[in-house]
Structures are given as structure tokens and as C-alpha cells.
Symmetry: none
Subunit: 225 residues, 2 copies
Amino acid sequence: MDNLKILVVDDESRMRKLVKDFLVKKNYTVLEAEDGEQAIDIFFSNKDISLIILDIMMPKLDGWQVCKEIRQYSKVPIIMLTAKSDEKDELLGFELGVDEYISKPFSPKILVARVDAVLRRTVGIEEEVIEVGGIVLDKVAHQVKVDDKNIDLSHKEFELLTYFVTNQGVALSREKILNNVWNYDYFGDARTIDTHVKKLRSKMGEKGNYIKTIWGLGYKFEVDS
Amino acid sequence: MDNLKILVVDDESRMRKLVKDFLVKKNYTVLEAEDGEQAIDIFFSNKDISLIILDIMMPKLDGWQVCKEIRQYSKVPIIMLTAKSDEKDELLGFELGVDEYISKPFSPKILVARVDAVLRRTVGIEEEVIEVGGIVLDKVAHQVKVDDKNIDLSHKEFELLTYFVTNQGVALSREKILNNVWNYDYFGDARTIDTHVKKLRSKMGEKGNYIKTIWGLGYKFEVDS
DNA sequence: TTGAACTATGAAAAATTTGTGAAGAAAAAA
DNA sequence: TTTTTTCTTCACAAATTTTTCATAGTTCAA
């Protein structure tokens, strides 16, 4: 989910640096292009670019042309940077499938907020999939694959595994596990965790030993490496 | 696909009329509300509103509050009308899930272009005929074929199946199903879903097992492959 | 090495959830 | 209104999950 790639296209290196700095701070990976041709080259040689931030005014190919070219092959979200907020421009942009508009000068906060919003709309929702050492945990589908094979887990087992996987390498006491996976009003025996761990381990096959026992404390999920 | 309903909320009747006129020209159906309370009433008593255009400055409930209230139950796209283009406002809006921003004064062309764009993003992709694994669902004709044979579904059954089919592979809790297929003010037993699922399954013949039970959670529609 | 403390495991018991048919309530049609 | 259809509730059986428990196996520290 993290480290989405964003391509920033602008002929002014100062502008690119400014945008990049703020995006990097938010944990995005930023690629740069200084004109339209380069932008297209970079976009098509990187298959996993999640968003393009595109200046309109550029030498060689301008923003509109880049946009049109890319739209022939891809629905990647595009945010346009525009100097003047010209109405014609905006209309043209919507026709070309531009997702957002930001007029220069803009505040970095606005920029980051829009980037977040666009990405939430596009990649955001699907990315509820966690993958760890051959285990694929799909929260939306409520489904788990181990080595590409579906395994049937009960609700509790699913939640327990989710908790483990989202806390890799962390030693988890039984109390902590109870508090996070069970309802707060559960007052039964903590040893029920052991039983669930047993079932998880057996259902997960050899990957079951990712769930380590920490003697005297609880469990820890850790992928051998 | 045509005649989508748009709710326009503004305390100035002149502004409502202006917006309405342009939207009606584009073949949208326009509902009006003159304050936040009315907006919420109208929205929740009409299940098929596709977009809300919301003024921020209003007596009683302002735009933010209306937005927040509606967002608790619905992802309906919202376009905000704002007098000043205040940066703080925009940030707040993105957090609240506002889809677009239009500053007053705006040109009608801009308005219509944005409305189109937002609707294309949201309902746009929605097709009138959905086909999935031998099931053909025709929303317009309100008719369902399984293996090329018509089957008779009641209204609720049809809506439930539609919801399932448009959410393939997604684990749906009973609560979620209730919120999306039933009116928001339904406070009956969630087990009524089970009964409808039973009937759907039996009417769908062997395709009925596309509706999977997720024990302890709800149901999931999934075509075996 | 030994024993106390802890964990693993299989099986049984308890609890929860779902499937189903039927009946009652509500809504729509005649 | 009456009739018909649809929707909801209910009760109970069936299916499944969760917890408990007894026993066997491990670990750790003196």
C-alpha cells in the first residue's frame, strides 16, 4: 500500500524539487521528468506509476498533449498544474480525463491533500491486501491464500491472523491479543488463544511456523529470512 | 443512465434556480433544498440521489455539517460551493470526502463540466446490463436471466442480487447489506436477509451457490473460476 | 537432573450462527 | 374493499465455531 510512485512533470527544476520534497515526506516515491517527451518515456517504461502531476506549460510537448497521449493507453490519474485558472483550460482538461486541477501558486498542503484524495479514489480502496512471506490476506474478500491456495479460516482465526500479520516481529502477550482480537467484554480463559493458534498453524501448513511461541509471554509472527 | 437525480442545496433561491436551469438542460432531474436540515431529509427519503451540490454558508446546518452527516451513511458524491477559496476549507473538505470544489462566482459551464466529470467517475461506469457468470441483470427492464432463462424476482430480491453482483468478491456484512439495500430507517431484524438469500438461491438454481455464506460475517457473491 | 510452570493437542461441551418452513404483517394489485 | 403478492418475524433443527478441559509434552532455573 505504501510507496506509490508519482511522476512529476515540470520544466522548472525548482518546482519539481518543491513538489517532490513534500511528496517524499508523505512516503511517496517520486520520479521526475523535465518535458513531455521524457514524461511519456518514463511513464511507459514504469508500469506501476500511480499518479502523474503534470504542468501545462512545457517546451516540446505541452501538458495537454502528454495527457492525450497517455490517455490512449492508460487511465492513470492525472493532476494538472496550471498557471492561470483559465476556464477553457479546465473544460478541455475534463474532456481529456484530468482528475484534478491545481493552480499555481499553490500551497504544498493543498497539493498533498489532493494527491491523497485522488489516490484514495483510485488505488485506495482496493489495496486492502496484505502480503507477507507467501501469505496473502485479503480483508475485502475476507480470504486468505497460502502459497496461492485458498485456505478456509473461521472468523476468529481470520482476525487473529490479521492481527499477527499486521504486527510482524512484535512479541504479543496473550493479554494483548485478547484485547485486540476478542471483544473487550470477553472474560474467558486466555488459553483459548492457544487453541486458535494450533488451528491456524495446522491450516497454514509449513507456513504455520511463522507463528512463534514466546515462552512465558505469548506469540510472535515472524517470517524467516 | 439518464435522468440522474441531483440535489441542490442553497439558501438563495436565485442561486438554486440558476444551477437548476443548467442541470435540467443537461437532462438531470433536480431536487432543491433551502437549508441543511431539509437537505438531509430529502436525501434520506430519496434513495436514488446521485449527486449533491452543497453550499457551505447556510442557516441552521451549514454545508460542512450536512456533509458530515450524510457521509456517515452514504458515499454519494458531493460538490461544494464556496464563496471564498479558503485553503483551510478545502483541506477540511477533502477530509470529509468532498469530491469537488467550485468557488462562487462560477460559470455555468464549469459547473456542468464538473458535474459530468464527477458523475462519470461514480455512477458513470455503472452499466444498465450486468453480466456475470451466466447471470444477466438488466436494471432498466428490471429483469434477470440465469442461463438465458428469465427468472421472476421480487423487488427486494432484485435489489439484493444487484447489490451482490455489483460487489463481486467483496465480503458483505449483514449490516452493510441492510444499509445499502434497505432504507436507512429500517430497524428490523437482519435475519430477513437470510430469508431473501434463501429465496434468491433457490430461484437461481445451481447458480445460487455463487452467493457464499461467510460464517460469522455475512455473505459474498463470487463466481467460481 | 528435577520439578514447577508453561505450552501443545485432541476431544468434548458450550455457544453461536445459519438454513428453512411456516405464519403473521405489510404492501400492492384487483 | 378484497385478493394477491411480498416482506418480515419466528421457531427450531442443523451446521459451525469457540471455549473448556484433561493430558501429554516442553522449557527453564535451581
